[in-house]
Symmetry: C2
Subunit: 341 residues, 2 copies
DNA sequence: TTGAAAGCGGTACCAC
DNA sequence: GTGGTACCGCTTTCAA
């Protein structure tokens, strides 16, 4: 059933039917009711391909993920973000087009999405401090919002959480608990958020006159194997840390395993801090399913980013929107006072 | 630059240019060369929206993921599968449309994808034994392939790995090593693959005259917290297992942590078996990045499923394709002989 | 081998 | 309020 047939069956023009369906005000109420009823009865769904061509809009947004940061995809933060964004896309009638491309093909992928018009905008994730994607997308005039920040702060839309503050506060917290040797298992420090996290960590230490020990700082792709290997090495070293700051849930898993293998107990002999979502993973007495709607700030961030992006798409005139969200790395049952104190 | 302009600039008709670009044989070679050169020079990309309307094909496939099995998304198996599929989609010029919908909205999502024609086919993941999606998709005539099996074995296309055999062999292996108390930390047993895995496990035990101990068997959403909690409980029990069969990497992480916390060493006092990909996660001396192309059977499965789906879309006449892949759960450094032997 | 023209299924402008 | 109609940009007969 297409518009033409529907219109014919109602003895109305396509125009009127289209207007009725799309909520234009100039349609008589009774007409609208008839149309709506007939559409529902016939189970009419406008053909999205035709609509896209006619309106010149793809009603879709793209997420480009490179194979190399596919490790990202297994990060709950990633999927949680996707869930939040996906929810908004669905609500607003947008499709989410996911491109998984080999590293290096990224630019081609964006250019292609742009030139063949299959999306109206894109979401940029895991930005590096000076991410070339920003300039590229600006050049090709594709609306985008970045989840995270770059050094080019003011020319585009982004949403980020306060990484520096969060890690500074987390470090402060551990310092308050008496810890002095605090390990930072960071993400890859070529990523913007990782740099900020390190900065926060370092600042907290220095504010107390503690010189950061390079041996306690590591940055790598956020995997369980990395968390395990580093934690293991540190714990086996001559002067092991009493606390860990983990950059992600997988890393925290690895730390948990390493700590366990040393016969130590998390929360007693060794502290582990990371954010809410992660702690809920590590606790074995959780009261509900993972990632409930109200619990995850990341999911909310995904939703908000999606809203921002759709806003940009619909009002091309608008300037960039920028939001910085406070996020506390809270303490859970896996954290306790320093055993040395 | 659109087709019309390109044609005009070449003083050719749209028809000829279109044919040249799309490789139709009746175009004179020299003409084709001219067209191709001009297209490249002008950086011409056909408008996908127009093409989709004209051809009646969406050139896209859908993956519908419910929010409730979003836990799935953080499973490396899931993202690895997506990577494999995405690669093929990209190569074949298909978009991957990812719908993340609340549980219960699934049917509506499929119906909508079908009726508004935004995808040509869909991939079905994590099927339950008698999954209603099969009948639904058949009813609405949407091409699909299932990754995994259902009880309706022969009416549709699917690709699965030999779960029963794999877990039977893994169990056999542990039995050969002298283990007698082997715990199975399965996925949710409402999922088809989990049932098969349990069957394989049970069969191996019974073949040796060992009655499966219900206390050693658990099934739940495959998370680290679940793996940890169950392993912890089992190890703290009166008659702890000497080996674990883990259903997924996250579960294995949890087992690893629990084993560690008990002061036991994986591979010595306690064995842990799961498949290749998972073991490579747990080993801290990995020789390369995760998910290299040649290493992951899941990624290959994703690619193959995508090929099958595109095949179905392009040749609607063809009957169902079904493939069962042998997969061995191999032993890694985390497995060793039973300490009791 | 090439071109003219009729769709594909909507949207939106302009009359009435 | 409603209808006629010209697009949107490409594919695909059908004729030349």
């Amino acid at each position: 059933m297409n518009l033409k047939e529907l219109a014919a069956s109602l003895k109305l023009s396509q125009t009127t039917v289209s207007r009725a369906l799309n909520g234009y005000p100039e349609v008589r109420e009774e007409t609208r009711r008839r149309v709506l009823a007939a559409a529902k009865a016939a189970n009419y769904q406008p053909n999205s391909r035709a609509r896209r061509l006619a309106t010149g809009r793809a009603m879709a947004v793209g997420h480009v993920v490179t194979l190399s940061d596919q490790g990202q995809m297994i990060n709950p933060v990633f999927s949680d973000f996707m869930a939040g964004a996906g929810e908004v896309y669905a609500r607003e009638g947008y499709d989410l087009v996911l491109s998984i491309v080999p590293a290096g093909e990224e630019e081609r992928a964006y250019r292609q999405l742009a030139s063949n018009g299959s999306v109206d905008g894109v979401m940029v994730q895991s930005p590096r401090p000076d991410d070339p994607r920003i300039a590229l997308l600006q050049e090709i005039g594709m609306p985008f919002v970045v989840h995270g920040r770059t050094t080019a702060r003011d020319s585009h839309s982004w949403l980020d959480i306060a990484n520096t503050t969060a890690f500074r506060r987390a470090t402060d917290l551990l310092l308050d608990l008496g810890h002095r040797r605090i390990a930072l298992l960071n993400g890859e420090e070529k990523l913007d958020f990782a740099r900020r996290r390190r900065n926060g960590y370092v600042a907290a230490l220095e504010a107390r006159g503690i010189a950061p020990d390079p041996a306690l700082i590591a940055g790598a792709e956020m995997t369980e194997a990395y968390g395990y290997a580093r934690a293991r090495a540190l714990l086996d070293g001559r002067s092991p840390p009493t606390a860990f700051l983990a950059s992600s849930v997988l890393v925290a898993f690895g730390v948990g395993r390493a700590v366990g293998e040393r016969g130590l107990a998390l929360g007693r002999e060794v502290s582990l801090v990371t954010h809410d979502d992660v702690l809920s993973y590590l606790s074995n007495d959780r009261d509900g399913p993972h990632f409930t709607a109200t619990r995850s700030p990341i999911r909310a961030a995904g939703a908000r980013c999606a809203e921002m992006l759709i806003g940009l798409i619909c009002n091309p005139g608008t300037g960039p929107v920028q939001e910085l969200w406070p996020v506390d790395l809270t303490v859970g049952r896996t954290t306790g006072p320093c055993p040395d104190t």
